[in-house]
């Protein structure tokens, strides 16, 4: 009898069998193949939880509609539909990204520098990250992330969770990763670990906040039910943006594979740092020979604008989240 399609235990079992079979083949010694298996396992994990998430989202929708919040729900979905991926970074990091053509995660950076692979690479990364190494590796293992994973966040038109230091919000073409990306409601590191870097919440509650990119709408709906319930008639787009681009309430995206310069659609800078930098550039123009350390950022800003211009990447200023 043919097995019915389902994402529950069947999927887990199928992946276990598949992986065990693969382990027997000598070809799996190839690291590229392992990466492929890991990526499939990540997806298997979210697929196995997909139905439960969809059921919960349906419940929340029905509750909202029953309470007269149908328009709020439609507004929320419409706001999410325009979402893009973004990575916040400093100006110098963005220059490095533009110059090298690629945004490196810690594994790629260390591999590029040392040539290490596999377990040796993981050991080196843990050493580099010191006390922060184990939490990062735990997260990657929990979600079966391959080493090619890049952390980004959902962007709804604001400057992203810029946290006072990652001022450049680099907007990426999310379509390139669709549907092969996953998402998490919140910041995985903040959500999962305490002050000492120990896992502070149950594994299951972290997995509840983890979904396939295609299910981002369901995840956001379930996680922000209370927020939506507080809107009586229609959604306030500014508040939605502040919520979903907030440091703790953002939707984290996991992009698999390389993040390259040609995927940049726009670079945004929040208003306040932009005004400050513009003033510093004026000062620098008046006194180009100055060695004042405050003017270093103006020099970097000018160089960044030159790079963006050469690469024909739009640069815009937007209000703070």
């Amino acid at each position: 009898m043919r097995r019915e399609s389902g994402f529950g235990k069947t999927s887990e079992k199928a992946f276990r069998i598949l992986t065990l079979d693969l382990m027997k083949t000598s070809l799996l010694k190839n690291i590229d193949s392992r990466r492929g298996v890991r990526r499939l396992r990540t997806f298997g994990l979210v697929l196995s939880r997909r139905r439960a998430l969809a059921d919960k989202a349906r419940e929340v929708s029905e509750k909202l509609i029953a309470a007269g919040g149908g328009n709020v729900l439609r507004g929320f979905k419409s706001a999410l539909a325009g979402g893009k991926a973004s990575i916040n970074m400093s100006m110098a990091k963005l220059i490095r990204f533009l110059d090298t053509g690629q945004w490196f995660n810690v594994y790629e950076a260390v591999n590029r520098e040392t040539g290490l692979k596999g377990k040796a690479l993981e050991r080196e990364v843990i050493l580099r990250l010191g006390e922060f190494g184990p939490p990062r590796v735990k997260i990657d293992r929990l979600f079966h992330f391959p080493r090619s994973v890049h952390y980004a966040s959902l962007n709804l038109g604001g400057p992203g969770p810029w946290a006072r230091y990652d001022i450049c919000c680099v907007i990426l073409d999310l379509g390139h990763w669709t549907p092969s990306y996953t998402c998490f409601s919140g910041d995985t590191l903040r959500a999962g670990f305490d002050q000492k870097g120990n896992l502070a919440v149950a594994r299951e509650s972290l997995l509840e906040r983890f979904a396939a990119g295609e299910d981002l709408g369901h995840l956001a709906l379930v996680q922000h039910e209370a927020f939506l319930g507080a809107h009586p008639f229609c959604i306030d787009l500014g508040r939605v943006r502040r919520l979903l681009e907030g440091e703790d309430t953002m939707i984290e995206l996991h992009l698999f594979g390389k993040v390259t310069r040609d995927k940049i659609r726009e670079v945004r800078l929040p208003q306040a740092p932009y005004e400050r930098l513009r003033e510093l550039v004026r000062q620098l123009d008046r006194n180009p020979g100055s060695t004042a350390r405050e003017l270093d950022s103006a020099r970097v800003f000018r160089a960044l604008l030159g790079r963006l211009d050469r690469a024909e990447i739009p640069f815009v200023v937007c209000g703070d989240s």
């Binding site: 598949l18 083949t25 298997g44 053509g101 903040r190 390389k258 040609d262 995927k263 950022s297 020099r299």
Partner: protein
């Protein structure tokens, strides 16, 4: 209280400091002032998204730490700060490509590189490498297709011109090379159709591979096929699919080589161009067949 310089990312103009239990980020963007981080999770996030090097040096005064970090950062950043004087050649990794190369290659490089940088997702050193490596095979390709040696340089130039004019689909080195050979193939088609010569059968090779993959997929459980249908695309490499579907090299390689010889292209191109999309199509077809009506 003394302050520890925990790690530095000089190329980003940033450093992580620790004062007692507090984590501080020293940043050039903030005018070399410190920004308090909310806890180890923020510090971990910074560390994992930077090329930080652990330092572990203690300072009595914050200003001393700032002066050291600033000096280190400016040493790295200074060459990149003046847009006029900082073309890509100043990147350290590019210097090794200044070694003497053949005239043909050097000419090809200088001819194509200026145009390439504009919207290329790839670093310039890689572009140099690809140009150096692929000019020869491309020339041989056109020669195999029967073009006169005098015609070949112009055809190669046209391929690179078209490649750099439209950077769509350059994800990595493999994608770039594939695109280059696809363009060569398209150019060949344009020219052979002018000459009324039957084009080689890339479609036939495509169909054969799709059937082969389809047979293997048919034996897999529904959810695995579903996963493959969703995940298999140009990003999932030939080698990965080969292993996932447990094809032995003996089953695939001769077919690839045969196909490559028939149409006069690199076997690598067939691997990248045909195999993953074929696998995806086959998985989608099986799913459509299995879907209850």
């Amino acid at each position: 209280m003394s302050i520890d310089l925990w790690a530095i990312d000089a190329g980003a103009g940033e450093a992580l400091l620790r004062q007692g239990d507090a984590w501080l980020l020293l940043s050039l963007d903030a005018g070399w002032s410190t920004v308090p981080l909310r806890g180890p999770a923020d510090a971990a996030r910074w560390s994992s998204s930077s090329l930080a090097i652990p330092v572990g040096r203690s300072y009595e005064e914050l200003d001393q730490a700032i002066a050291d970090v600033r000096e280190a950062s400016l040493t790295v950043l200074r060459p990149l700060l003046d847009p006029e004087d900082a073309p890509m050649d100043l990147l350290p990794q590019a210097s090794r490509y200044h070694s003497p190369a053949s005239n043909v290659r050097r000419n090809a490089r200088s001819q194509f590189l200026g145009r390439a940088f504009r919207r290329s997702p790839l670093p310039e050193d890689l572009l140099r490498e690809v140009i150096d490596a692929e000019v020869g095979p491309l020339e041989r390709c056109f020669e195999r297709w029967g073009f006169a040696p005098s015609e070949v340089p112009a055809l190669v130039a046209t391929c690179f011109d078209r490649l750099f004019a439209d950077p769509t689909g350059w994800v990595d080195e493999a994608a770039l090379k594939t695109r280059l050979f696809v363009l060569a193939e398209e150019l060949h088609r344009e020219l052979v159709s002018d000459r009324r010569v039957a084009p080689y059968s890339l479609e036939a090779a495509d169909q054969q591979l799709e059937q082969l993959v389809g047979r293997r997929l048919a034996g897999l459980p529904q959810d695995v096929v579903e996963t493959l249908a969703t995940w298999t695309d140009l990003k999932l490499e030939y080698r990965e699919i080969q292993v996932l579907l447990q094809f032995s090299p003996e089953e695939l390689e001769p077919r690839l080589r045969q196909g490559a010889q028939t149409i006069g292209l690199a076997a690598e191109l067939l691997r990248v161009r045909l195999f993953a999309p074929g696998c995806r199509r086959a998985a989608e077809r099986i799913l459509a067949r299995r879907r209850p009506r």
